[in-house]
């Protein structure tokens, strides 16, 4: 339709805006423009995920299979040698991806579920609920979280469920603060008032009106939070209250084989063994941060030309 000159027509304005691209095309365009670091990060994360999923297929031996040769050197039989009771380190690293990463993902999701929901509710409600939640979070945050987690795990016992629950609750305080802060900016918008006027319930306003508008910072935070959770689990395992043997876990693998470092002067490869699980942790953390940085940059609208 050709707009007539010199008169206003709503339809005539149509030409000025472009057609909306489908979600898939937009993703493809974004990926094509992603910088090298982000692509590297995505490849690494994908590799970790594949290793975690196909661990039993990839690992040459079982997770807790004990061989008669403890502290075996690197060889064609035991690629990275064996540990103090004769378990194949390479196989345990592959299983470790599944356990450590799996638990970290579950914990982060739970932390976001708790912190996000409460943060949104506090931002919308703003009255006593906000006060009660915010002050309790302040109290929880005042206690150093690693020590608090140590205490709680010693009291309740180091099961996987306890580990996930305790770290999730402790980490949800940070998520709560972030969600509440960003949601406060959205709550004051007219469309939220319009939804309220319509008579929509709390759930709808949270899910449909506010959540989609605060997703970018939350996703970025998810990546960072995941790294912290991951490191906390590894630290707790290193201290002996995290994931319990015989379950393979990178944190406890570092602790168990730490003494091997002393043999580096005789055999460099043996000395490197305890660093392998540590490197696996470091690589994943860096990869996730690359992806998060890219995502943040893309959604924040801060583009340095």
């Amino acid at each position: 339709m050709k707009p007539e000159p010199n008169t206003y027509s709503a339809l005539g304005e149509v030409a000025a805006v472009h057609e909306r691209r489908s979600l898939w095309t937009r993703i493809v365009i974004d990926l094509r423009k992603a910088p090298f670091t982000a692509r590297f990060g995505m490849v690494v994360i994908l590799a970790y995920m594949l290793v975690a999923i196909f661990a039993p297929v990839l690992a040459p031996y079982g997770e807790a299979e004990v061989f008669p040769e403890p502290y075996a050197p690197w060889s064609s039989i035991y690629i990275f040698g064996t540990d103090q009771i004769g378990r194949d380190i390479f196989s345990r690293m592959i299983y470790g991806a599944r356990n450590t990463v799996g638990i970290a993902v579950a914990t982060t999701f739970l932390a976001f579920l708790i912190g996000g929901a409460l943060g949104l509710a506090a931002a919308i409600n703003r009255s006593w609920l906000d006060q009660v939640l915010s002050r309790s979070v302040d109290v929880l945050m005042a206690i150093p979280s690693l020590i608090f987690a140590l205490v709680l795990l010693s009291i309740f016992g180091s099961t996987v469920t306890n580990l996930i629950l305790i770290i999730a609750v402790l980490d949800s305080t940070r998520v709560f603060r972030l969600t509440r802060a960003v949601a406060l900016n959205v709550v004051v918008m007219d469309y939220v008032e319009a939804a309220r006027l319509r008579g929509e319930g709390l759930g709808w306003i949270m899910r449909r009106e506010i959540l989609p508008n605060i997703m970018p910072p939350l996703i970025a935070e998810f990546g960072l939070r995941f790294c912290f959770v991951f490191l906390t689990i590894a630290a707790l395992s290193f201290l002996g209250v995290g994931i319990q043997p015989p379950t393979a876990d990178w944190g406890s693998m570092v602790r168990d084989n730490a003494s091997l470092i002393m043999f580096a002067q005789y055999d460099l490869k043996v000395g490197l063994t305890p660093l392998l699980p540590a490197a696996a942790i470091a690589l994943l953390t860096v990869a996730i941060n690359f992806v998060v940085d890219w995502f943040l940059h893309k959604t924040s609208g801060l583009h340095d030309e």
Partner: protein, 539 residues
């Protein structure tokens, strides 16, 4: 007194074949497309057009400045013999704040909140070495006096937050006048002000421009305002000139159809309906935000099927009244009666049916729609929520509603960010209509829109009223909008109803003092209006 650098009647500024491009969506677009402009010393040129017409870009280009992301691709800007388009920023800076100055739209956002007004007023004058500090301060005080600011000797010692918006706009004019520039660019200086304040600011600006015989470019979208200020008016559209003519000639005999359409909204007038039984009545409403009381014993009656316009300045309590009606702000005392039944004060206590029958349309359509929802979701939700319409039937109804607001099914999958201002407001109207309401509160729905788009929205609202028998409560500060749409008028001031009645009654004398002030402050198309008003008020 007269600028010693140019004489009246000389060509001060001449722009030839200017083209400016802006960068967005990863390509360059034309913003200004080949414009010529000539400005003589001591002359005021009015630039008028819709948003996006390139007025501000041209105004800034007259100073040789382009906003970040813009570039001058062709043409020359000759100011007093020098081509600004060819100068470097360092060279241009010698002109800025000395021979040419700028008055921005939002004074509140343009002042440094941490420095005293007089320091900011004189900063560029002192920096350019035109006057020493003492002389500049004395001169600034004189300017404050000419601009009719209260207590001109001491007002400069205040900080920006300590004076009102209208005063701040005048201080900014003083700042622009301080170096006695040859060229002053006003960019919509009164758009953010109330009508009663606007008159004072306009009068002071005009007197100071006349007194110092400064050439000025006055940018606005309000034709009545520019008629008071400018000697010559230039109409812009899509970065091109539509026409240029001396003010009186332009007003009495515009050549182009587009120019005529610019003031068509002022010609709209609704034939007044006689009063019927009221559908909504507010009785003795008191309301407050915290401890601050904002409504005092407000009574408003809204007859069924008619439009009641609530007029008043910002802070008069008109939007608060709307919040009480919708239940967002429960009143302290008094009752809101809708269709014979008393509405519970708080929103949570109202039934879904009560909520459905009263809908609201907001001023800023941008923030009134969730940027992450498509038009289909925005309009479809009230259908589902109130009437339980889902699936294919919902799609059909959404298309019907889109057609009702003169759009079509192509808009269904768009996000609000992909719509123009007028389209957004139409979608908001459709969302309100989807609930099949009987009563719609329109809170300044047209004030953020261009005149010509306003006209479309107002016509649409009137047509819908006729077809669906809707009742409107129309909150506005613009009297020409009231003329266009209202049957009855409620005048509010400082939380009280000053006057209520049929439009013809309220607009005819005798008036209470406040109504008289408000009505007389509305700019008219007559270029002598301001002069006459000032002489009348002085008497």
């Amino acid at each position: 007194m007269m600028s010693n650098r140019t004489k009246k009647g000389d060509v001060l500024l001449s722009i030839k074949g200017l083209k400016i491009q802006g960068f967005s969506d990863e390509k360059w677009h034309d913003i200004i497309n080949g414009i010529d402009l000539t400005l003589h010393a001591g002359e005021v040129l009015g630039l008028i057009g819709e948003s996006g017409a390139g007025k501000s870009t041209l105004g800034l280009a007259a100073m040789g400045y382009t906003q970040p992301g813009c570039r001058i691709t062709e043409g020359e800007i000759i100011f007093d013999g020098v081509d600004l388009a060819k100068l470097s920023d360092v060279e241009k800076r010698k002109f800025w704040g000395d021979r040419m100055t700028y008055v921005a739209q939002s004074a509140a956002a343009s002042f440094n909140p941490a420095r005293r007004l007089i320091v900011q007023t004189t900063a560029s004058t002192i920096r350019a070495g035109i006057k020493n500090r003492q002389d500049a301060y004395d001169d600034a005080k004189q300017l404050y006096d000419v601009l009719n600011l209260p207590d001109p000797d001491n007002i400069g010692d205040r900080y920006p937050h300590q004076v009102s918006g209208g005063q701040l706009q005048r201080v900014m004019t003083a700042m622009a006048m301080s170096p006695r520039p040859d060229l002053l660019v006003f960019d919509e200086p009164t758009t953010a002000l109330d009508v009663t304040t606007q008159v004072e600011v306009l009068a002071s600006m005009r007197s100071i421009v006349e007194e110092f015989n400064t050439a000025a470019i006055y940018i606005t979208h309000d034709l009545a305002v520019v008629a008071q200020m400018a000697d010559v008016i230039k109409v812009l559209r899509y970065g091109c000139e539509v026409e240029e003519a001396p003010t009186r000639q332009m007003l009495s005999a515009p050549k182009e159809a587009y120019t005529k359409s610019l003031w068509s909204v002022r010609a709209l007038e609704k034939p007044q309906q006689t009063a019927k039984a009221s559908v909504l009545s507010l009785k003795n409403i008191d309301a407050s935000y915290g401890i601050q009381k904002v409504l005092h014993a407000v009574n408003i009656e809204v007859p069924k099927g008619s439009t009641v316009a609530v007029v008043g300045e910002s802070g008069s309590g008109k939007s608060t009244a709307a919040r009480v009606i919708t239940g967002l702000l429960p009143q302290l005392s008094g009752t809101v009666k809708f269709d014979g039944e008393v509405l519970p004060p708080a929103l949570v206590n109202r039934s879904k049916e009560q909520k459905r029958r009263i809908q609201m349309i907001y001023q800023m359509a941008d923030t009134a729609m969730n940027p992450r929802q498509t038009v289909r979701e925005i309009i479809g939700r009230p259908l589902e929520f109130y009437l339980g319409i889902r699936g294919a039937e919902q799609t059909k109804r959404v298309i019907e509603l889109l057609e009702m607001i003169e759009l079509d099914a192509n808009f269904m999958e768009r996000l609000p960010g992909e719509l123009s201002g007028g389209q957004k407001q139409r979608i908001c109207i459709a969302r309100a209509l989807a609930a099949e309401p009987e009563f719609i509160i329109c809170d300044e729905v047209t004030s953020a829109l261009d005149q010509i788009v306003q006209e479309g929205i107002l016509k649409l609202l009137m047509r819908l009223q006729e077809e669906l028998g809707l009742t409107y409560l129309f909150i506005t500060h613009d009297i020409s909008t009231v003329n266009a749409i209202a049957d009855q008028v409620v005048v509010m001031n400082q939380g009280e109803v000053v006057e209520q009645g049929l439009k013809t009654e309220v607009f005819q004398p005798p008036h209470p003092d406040y109504t008289a002030l408000l009505l007389s402050s509305v700019p008219e198309m007559d270029p002598d209006w301001l002069t006459n008003l000032i002489s009348k008020r002085v008497v």
